[in-house]
Symmetry: C2
Subunit: 384 residues, 2 copies
């Protein structure tokens, strides 16, 4: 099994861009990834994997070739869709393609345009990845699903709304340093805890925005990577589960995340205590707390303590979501997973600019589809 | 690069099944694949790849975990969508997963439920994989797109409507032997040529039906395959192209098919003259003619001759679509590619029952997305 490396990555800013199309956004991310991959050109790309949820008024079938044609590629192109984990899975497929020996350089990316929907259409957008018959069609929004997890968590452990807010405050502080962040401003604990309720106990500040954006990652063989700014894909694991939250045994953990993490740690031959930096899927603040526990950064019920003690702050022992996370950086569904890996690549190769964290040898990205029907965890290693 | 094998496959009948759901159809295909894979159980499956276009009133996001959860799997599950080539690509991903060493047994399948749409909704269904702005939204149906190819072919070569009909007559004759075929009846040349026009020059008999159905294929490593009815995946190639027909240089060839075939032949180290049997993507009759030429079975313009001489009949030198093809067997979009490979596996391992073709050592499956925005070609080898 030969090694695979991330050898370049880029993304658009995440935000609301009515003047852009899904194709123009993808092209920007692609151009930035190519520019970052010094020495590689479009002709070196053997195949492409593109993640998008792709609901809405754009290209529905063949939405992956629709963006790769726009950047001039006619290589094998596959669309992958696992809801909000679409491009995390796209990167995983790219890793398999390289390890299989069938490709030396694979483009993995994703895109989404969401802000042209409004009101009920937005709820529809966010709801399509919930379970259809008993969640979406009965009116359960995604905020509602994660609110149920937060309520269960408060019941089971010593935690309250301020613990959710601490995740938001941290991620906004981080996003304020990221020029690509959609909500690149700071907020206070009071701002977050006292904001309007979206789905009790979640307030507006406990929910990520809807976003437009794209991200692209280049995955390559060792031979290609040798002379480049490269981060080795030490492990990548995935897991799936019942799509509907109501069909799972637990509301205070996302078992698909645990399965994905276990597989990634095993492949990388490392444990959670050897991770230096992580990008986790904080679509709602409670999701970041569950991620700490599902990824093994702490024991069940201890996530609030990590936040209270600043362990996961940008200057803490284990910085989490230094990009701003989904909360502040934004969450254009199909772009999120590749965007997380783009951030890891930048941090591991010294390309993170003002928000560079020093001494990062091993980074982890955690990308969840829906309320946990699918999850994928990727571990990258740099040279520090 | 280790070898990958198809070690079992199954499908539902294709047709109109109002009493079935997308989940129940997938479960039937899964059960049949497992039953065919003697010695393997669900616990042996390491991951799953599921192809579906997935438009309509069913699960939209996370539609792959929605069917794998139903058959009791919680392994990594990825949805792949490349329009009508969805599950051809799913099988390709499964091959990469096995060759990468990250999995030993991968379930690759697909499903679609289409017959609950009617009238305009059906046109919508079939249109979503056309180019959006200049084809679908301006009213071009898929029959219309392929009709343009047929018109261009008639202009360029010595061919007429009877040549299209010969493909339909052959495939209906084959489908009449297949208990899984949706339109399992024979038709005459007159039936086909004189039928109502759908999009000139295509008549009703030159168009595949809309279908419900599912198919599943098990791809495994050599070690797993050793004691099983196995067919080696000698080659698998894919290609993509402009999604819109109007943006391509030629209307009388599908360049993505040529690219996919070239890659598959190279990987399999064989040429078109070494193929004993093929399942090709005859969504419309003209597509079967183009396939003969794009796959190298004959020179450009010679496809009508192959049909006139019976070369591709079930008892000809190179039987094509002995299953009945999309025309007679049916075309439940996401199930079609895996269904083709299921047919190859049956033929190569002596499991094709009454329609077994003797002496088949090497089979080829050809699966096209949209009007040629994507294509995938898979070559399997048996022991004959």
């Amino acid at each position: 099994m030969r090694d695979a490396y991330v050898v370049g990555a880029g993304q658009t800013a995440f935000g609301s861009f009515p003047e852009e199309s899904y194709r123009s956004l993808f092209a920007t991310a692609f151009d930035r990834a190519m520019a970052a991959a010094d020495g590689l050109g479009p002709a070196d790309i053997d195949e492409a994997v593109v993640g998008t949820l792709g609901v809405g008024g754009r290209q529905l079938g063949l939405s992956a070739p629709a963006v790769t044609e726009h950047v001039g590629l006619s290589v094998p192109t596959t669309r992958v869709e696992n809801a909000c984990a679409a491009s995390g899975y796209a990167v995983r497929n790219a890793v398999q393609a390289v390890k299989s020996g069938m490709a030396d350089v694979v483009l993995a990316g994703g895109y989404e345009v969401m802000t042209d929907a409004s009101g009920d259409a937005t709820k529809y957008w966010l709801g399509v990845s919930g379970e259809t018959e008993w969640e979406r069609l009965t009116g359960t929004t995604f905020a509602g699903t994660y609110a149920q997890m937060a309520s269960a968590y408060f019941d089971e452990y010593d935690a309250d709304v301020d613990d959710l807010s601490r995740a938001a405050v941290k991620n906004h502080a981080n996003g304020a340093q990221n020029p690509h962040a959609q909500l690149g401003f700071e907020c206070s604990l009071e701002d977050a805890s006292d904001a309007a309720t979206v789905a009790d106990p979640l307030t507006l500040y406990h929910c990520c925005p809807t976003s437009d954006g794209a991200a692209a990652v280049l995955v390559a063989s060792e031979e290609v990577a040798e002379s480049m700014d490269a981060a080795r894909v030490a492990g990548v694991g995935a897991g799936s589960d019942r799509v509907g939250l109501f069909e799972r045994d637990t509301y205070t953990s996302i078992p698909a995340s645990e399965r994905a993490a276990d597989a990634a740690y095993e492949m990388a031959d490392c444990g959670p205590d050897e991770i230096d930096l992580a990008e986790v899927h904080d679509c709602f603040a409670i999701a970041e707390l569950l991620a700490y526990e599902d990824l093994g950064f702490c024991e069940p019920g201890e996530a609030p303590e990590l936040l209270r003690e600043g362990v996961t702050d940008a200057d803490g022992d284990l910085p989490v979501n230094v990009s701003g996370g989904l909360k502040s950086k934004g969450h254009p569904i199909g772009a999120t997973g590749a965007g997380q890996i783009a951030e890891l690549w930048k941090q591991l190769t010294g390309n993170a600019g003002d928000r560079q964290v020093e001494g990062v040898e091993r980074g982890l990205a955690h990308n969840v589809g829906g309320s946990g029907g699918a999850a994928v965890v990727t571990i990258l290693e740099g040279e520090a």
